[in-house]
């Protein structure tokens, strides 16, 4: 474009480059307008009215919903605007539970941040947050505190638009409006899959992840308990900013060191059991291909997806792989070993995921009534524990995970990103494993941040139809096609857009930062000497000495229709 069109923001000309709204253009001018309800990945709601700007005629427009037009002259910071923004904030705060210091979202709260930015030093209205419904602690993953809700509707839109779950919605109207499940039922009785995307997007502490740190400390402090911990692939590239390192940088070694410092007895990498998943799932896939039954095979690593499938498409459960998730495989192996050795063991999983908290409590994953995973801690939880321990994370020397499960493959590491499971399986079933062959596998079409990726793969004499999906609304689209008769052989589903790197247990980031995390995982993969799960010596060792003929018992699960 030779002649760019411009708008003037506070006197500075800013080019219009296809932005849908003023807000995005204004951001390019280096001005971050305050918003509660605007998210580039959701539909425009336009309700918080914080992003109002003044046009050249003195009229006010909400920047989030005004399309940029060439020649506009916008002011973003006038006396009037500041006054209105302050009044709006004051109105919100008057209806908000202000127990900030004891709030789980303290210092991460957008309301707190904006109240500070706009110098709110008093509220002239009586606080009415006490009229809200009581807290809902029923879910294993998420707790909901309506007294902190500012009704921006972000959670509702993410739950419907991105996840097609629709567990929550607005209820009632006007000042009686709230965010609620149908009939205000406990979240645990709703179709909520625990993906936590609502938590990730919530600007306040109204939706937070369930915290299981206390029992973990207790176990660590108990000398009679052996504490083991596994760390999921996506965690290593996401602790980032909050601990003083770049987001996307692989700090696995530091995390291991930190956990040892905290007092964990054994530290493992979930990538190892991801390798096991690859082995089992590949075998299952080849068997189904041969028999031509239960195709497409749909992956089973993601507990959010499993719950979604159980709720909405129970008839597809026979298509879902019978493999346990890597987390549960690892836990089963460790608990099996502990039982053999007569040890009392407490097993902690550090996950990017909130749904894993619910997965760990499923009856399918309990041995003798005890859950295989005793506690799931999210990445955010880990960060909190590191801070609580006073560990100077940045100064830690990296350490290696413990033997005998110490060797991992790159295939296991990339489980943390959408397309990773598929690529790992493709590596496993590839005829040759030269560098060139692996590079070619990498370019089949499974990589990238698109929500739905589809491609054909020549396999022997067959052409396989493969789909890689992230975000449950995208999954629904593909499932609808499957149900209407379209053929697929293999479908990878991850509930969170972009896969586990964008899990709701991770510090919340926008699209660009997600790409950094993805880069970090692929880099970790490239730097490993073992790239394919079947080349991992620990795996063959495990099959020989531990699993033997008990693969079904230790590594598989059958979800039943409810």
């Amino acid at each position: 474009m030779a002649n760019k069109e411009f708008i003037t923001v506070d006197g500075i000309p800013v080019p219009i480059e296809g932005e849908a709204n003023l807000l995005e253009v204004i951001r390019k001018a280096g001005i971050k307008l305050p918003t509660f309800c605007y998210h580039s990945e959701l539909s425009v709601y336009g309700a918080c009215r914080m992003c109002m700007v003044e046009n050249e005629w003195g009229g006010l427009d909400a920047a989030c919903s005004t399309p940029p037009r060439a020649g506009m002259k916008i002011k973003t910071n006038t006396e009037r605007l500041r006054r209105y923004r302050r009044n709006i904030l004051e109105l919100i705060i008057a209806n908000h539970c202000n127990d900030c210091t004891t709030c789980k979202n303290n210092l991460r709260c957008k309301l707190q941040d904006l109240a500070m930015r706009y110098n709110i030093d008093g509220v002239r209205f009586p606080n009415t947050s006490g009229n809200a419904r009581p807290k809902d602690e029923s879910s294993d993953s998420i707790s909901m505190d309506p007294s902190k809700c500012i009704l921006c509707g972000d959670c509702v839109r993410v739950c419907h638009e991105v996840q097609n779950v629709g567990a929550i919605d607005f209820a009632f109207r006007g000042s009686k409006m709230s965010i609620s499940t149908a009939f205000g039922k406990p979240l645990a009785e709703s179709p909520c899959v625990g993906c936590g995307q609502c938590v990730a997007i919530c600007p306040t502490g109204a939706l937070v992840v369930k915290n299981h740190i206390t029992p973990v400390w207790k176990a660590v402090d108990n000398p009679e308990l052996k504490t083991t911990v596994q760390i999921a692939p996506a965690v290593r590239v996401a602790v980032g900013k909050e601990l003083g390192v770049r987001d996307g940088e692989n700090v696995m070694g530091k995390i291991v060191a930190a956990l040892r410092l905290m007092g964990f007895d054994e530290v493992y990498d979930t990538s190892l059991s991801a390798d096991l998943t690859v082995m089992e799932e590949s075998a299952e896939f080849l068997e189904r291909l041969e028999k031509g039954e239960n195709l497409p095979l749909i992956t089973s690593c993601c507990p959010g997806w499993i719950k979604y499938c159980e709720n909405k498409h129970p008839e597809l459960l026979s298509n879902v792989s019978s493999c346990k998730s890597p987390m549960q495989m690892f836990a089963a192996l460790l608990k099996d070993r502990a039982k053999k050795n007569g040890e009392k063991m407490f097993h902690v999983a550090i996950m990017p995921c909130t749904a894993k908290k619910s997965e760990a409590t499923r009856e399918e994953f309990a041995t003798d009534g005890c859950p295989d995973v005793d506690a799931v801690i999210t990445t955010n939880g880990l960060i909190r524990m590191i801070k609580e321990s006073g560990i100077m994370f940045d100064d830690l020397e990296p350490e290696a995970v413990d033997m005998p499960f110490g060797t991992i493959s790159g295939a296991g590491v990339i489980f943390g990103v959408t397309g990773g499971v598929t690529e790992a399986v493709l590596r496993r079933v590839a005829a040759t494993k030269t560098r060139a062959a692996l590079l070619s596998v990498a370019n089949k079409g499974q990589r990238g941040m698109e929500g739905i990726k589809e491609f054909d793969l020549e396999y022997g004499e067959k052409t396989l139809r493969i789909a890689v999906v992230s975000g449950l609304a995208n999954a629904e689209k593909v499932i609808k096609r499957v149900k209407s008769g379209e053929h697929f052989d293999f479908i990878e589903v991850m509930a969170c857009p972009g896969g586990c790197i964008n899990g709701a247990g991770q510090p919340y980031i926008m699209h660009e930062e997600r790409c950094e995390r993805v880069k970090g995982l692929y880099e970790a993969d490239r730097l490993l000497s073992v790239r394919c799960s079947d080349d991992n010596p620990v795996i063959s060792e495990l099959y020989e000495n531990v699993i033997g003929d008990r693969a079904h018992e230790l590594l598989h699960v059958h979800y039943k229709k409810k």
């Binding site: 109105l91 919100i92 109207r173 006007g174």
Partner: protein, 624 residues
């Protein structure tokens, strides 16, 4: 099924002849008010009595009546609900008022058989008796264009509508005019939206017409949620075909083939009449595929509201038709571009559409001759409150409040003094005595910070407390706020909170300023038109009656003596005869005493409703 223009013309000729040949017509008002007063029972009784007398009765226009027939018809609202149930007797044009079931026999005997006027049923005002409908001052001072046929034709009959010239504008639009020409005519007429803002209808039509999109919609806003307004309900229920005709013409002009009428839930009568009207039009081939044998097709659906004032806002209304919560959405894009189901949509209100056939038939120049230069045509108002004559009226734009209140409305009730008039409902503003000679039109009202809105006119006298009025409207808007945007949801809640404490005598220094600040924030930042206008009643009452606010806050006194919590009611033992009438009237059992001894009021129970004051025959109950 009519397959051509000539077939419709022939039918009209036939119906017109039959209509003119009617020798005796009895028109029972079947508007909501008269039905409530028992007009349907009167209708049935008249029918029964006529049949008993061996007279033949026609309830629908009959083309070839056998012998002498008495036509007994149900019409829409006549407007003067106060004096209902109403019965119009034609051809004389007499109007019988407050008709009771027991009057039916006499009406048959004297008027139908004897041809005599029954004086006691005529409207009386002062020492004058008005025999004829058209002579009654309430009607005489009005100009009926849109309401012309409400009350004179059978609201359930497409035959009568056609007989008096109905659907001839459709004919003209369909066979003589291009879509551009229709749009141009409406543009030229400067017909402005009657639903509130007064946006020129022709411009909307033009915007929709110009878009080359396959599916477009015509939507009629019949969600008249304004408490104290019932014009649109009366048009839908009284002359449904006229509005339907207007919608079909809008469809021709803009290329839309589907229409929706969104009717407020509280108008079951209107829904019933509209349903009948649509069926009748479909049967005649005036609605449906290939209308009158042309290429043009138009289908009409009814969507019933489910109780949400906000659905009167365009984007909330379309959301509601789509089966969603009635949340307004941010604009742009406008409804004309992304309206119903995200398609270009013409959205006008009932009265606007009802004007269309007239403009097409009689031409824009004729229309421009009525009303004012900037606001041509007439406007229907619901005139209520503390005046002598309340009801549905229609006057040319530019008529002054004085003419409406004193000439049509007959002045203040019980000789009270005029204080203010709330115009435009909860989104409107209060006008005072200084505005009495202001011509009512879109632009003049805008200049004084008011708006025609939906057309509610609530007249208030000096016993009305303006702070309490502001509280009443704020309570309404607060209840009806959809809750989407912060300023409206939270702001109206806080404004109500403050107003409630002021009328309860708990106002604080700074409250007026806080109200003003909140109002300013809401007006400037709320998402939709309803939110932006929600503080209007408060802004205008503070502007015009600031001293009343101050009296409540600083002196804990209600100058109008209306605020219940600031009232002290007591029984003067000297005057009380112990008749117990007050105790029986008291809704909360706050009054007790022994018969024939002075009664007492328990102030802890008393809700200060004032019922006892009205009940006491000895004026023994007093307010301090």
């Amino acid at each position: 099924m009519l397959k051509s223009r000539s077939e419709l013309s022939a039918l009209r000729e036939e119906y017109a002849k039959a209509y003119a040949a009617q020798s005796r017509r009895l028109i029972v008002c079947a508007g909501t008010g008269c039905v409530a007063g028992g007009s349907m029972k009167i209708y049935d009784r008249l029918k029964e009595l006529l049949r008993e007398r061996g007279l033949s009765v026609a309830v629908e226009l009959e083309v070839d009546p056998h012998g002498d027939v008495i036509d007994l018809k149900k019409s829409g609202c006549h407007g003067f609900c106060e004096i209902g149930p109403l019965l119009r007797v034609d051809p004389e044009g007499w109007l019988y008022t407050k008709v009771q079931l027991s009057d039916c026999e006499e009406i048959i005997e004297k008027t139908i058989i004897g041809g005599e006027h029954i004086d006691r049923l005529a409207y009386k005002c002062g020492c004058n008796t008005y025999k004829k409908h058209d002579d009654i001052p309430f009607y005489k001072n009005q100009t009926h264009i849109v309401l012309d046929q409400c009350g004179t034709i059978n609201a359930d009959s497409i035959r009568e509508y056609i007989a008096v010239g109905g659907y001839s504008a459709l004919e003209k639009a369909l066979f003589e005019m291009s879509p551009e020409a229709i749009t141009d005519e409406i543009k030229k007429s400067n017909l402005r939206g009657r639903g509130g803002g007064g946006f020129p209808a022709g411009r909307k039509w033009e915007q929709v017409r110009r878009q080359n999109v396959e599916q477009k919609y015509v939507v009629c806003n019949g969600d008249e949620g304004d408490p104290g307004a019932f014009m649109d309900g009366s048009i839908m229920g009284g002359d449904p075909h006229r509005m339907i005709e207007g919608m079909i013409i809008a469809g021709i002009a803009t290329g839309a083939s589907v229409g929706y009428i969104y009717v407020r839930a509280e108008y079951p009568l209107a829904v019933e009449r509209l349903r009948t009207a649509i069926t009748q039009a479909e049967e005649l081939g005036i609605l449906g595929d290939n209308i009158l044998g042309t290429e043009f097709s138009f289908k009409l659906n009814i969507s019933r509201g489910a109780g949400a004032f906000v659905c009167g806002e365009g984007s909330a209304l379309t959301a509601s038709i789509e089966g969603k919560r009635g949340f307004p959405r941010v604009k742009p894009p406008r409804t004309t571009e992304h309206g119903l189901f995200d398609k270009p949509t013409v959205l006008n209100n009932v009265e606007t559409f009802a004007n269309v056939p007239l403009i097409i038939s009689k031409g824009a120049d004729w229309y421009l001759g009525i009303g004012t230069e900037g606001s041509p045509g007439t406007k229907a108002f619901a005139l209520t409150g503390n005046i002598v004559n309340t009801g549905l009226i229609e006057v040319p734009m530019g008529t002054t409040l004085r003419e409406i209140i004193f000439d049509i409305g007959g002045g203040m009730r019980d000789g009270a003094e005029f204080k203010a008039v709330q115009i435009g409902g909860p989104s409107g503003a209060c006008l005072t005595a200084e505005h009495l000679d202001l011509p009512l039109d879109f632009d003049t009202l805008k200049k004084v910070g008011a708006m025609i809105g939906s057309g509610g006119l609530v007249v208030m006298d000096d016993k009305t407390c303006m702070v309490e009025v502001a509280r009443f409207f704020m309570n309404f808007t607060q209840n009806e706020s959809c809750g989407k945007c912060v300023p409206c949801r939270e702001g109206t809640k806080r404004m109500l909170e403050i107003l409630e404490r002021i009328v309860a005598g708990e106002g604080r220094d700074g409250d007026i300023e806080l109200l003003e600040e909140l109002a300013d924030t809401i007006v400037n930042t709320a998402l939709c038109g309803l939110g932006k206008s929600a503080p209007n009643p408060i802004i205008s009452t503070i502007k015009n009656f600031r001293e009343e606010y101050e009296a409540h806050i600083y002196e804990k006194r209600c100058p109008a003596g209306a605020c219940q919590k600031l009232k002290k009611i007591y029984i003067d033992p000297e005057l009380c005869k112990g008749c117990s009438k007050c105790a029986r009237q008291c809704p909360v059992d706050a009054i007790s005493g022994k018969i024939k001894e002075p009664f007492e009021i328990d102030l802890s129970k008393c809700i200060r409703c004032g019922s006892c004051l009205d009940a006491c025959p000895f004026k023994a109950i007093k307010e301090a």
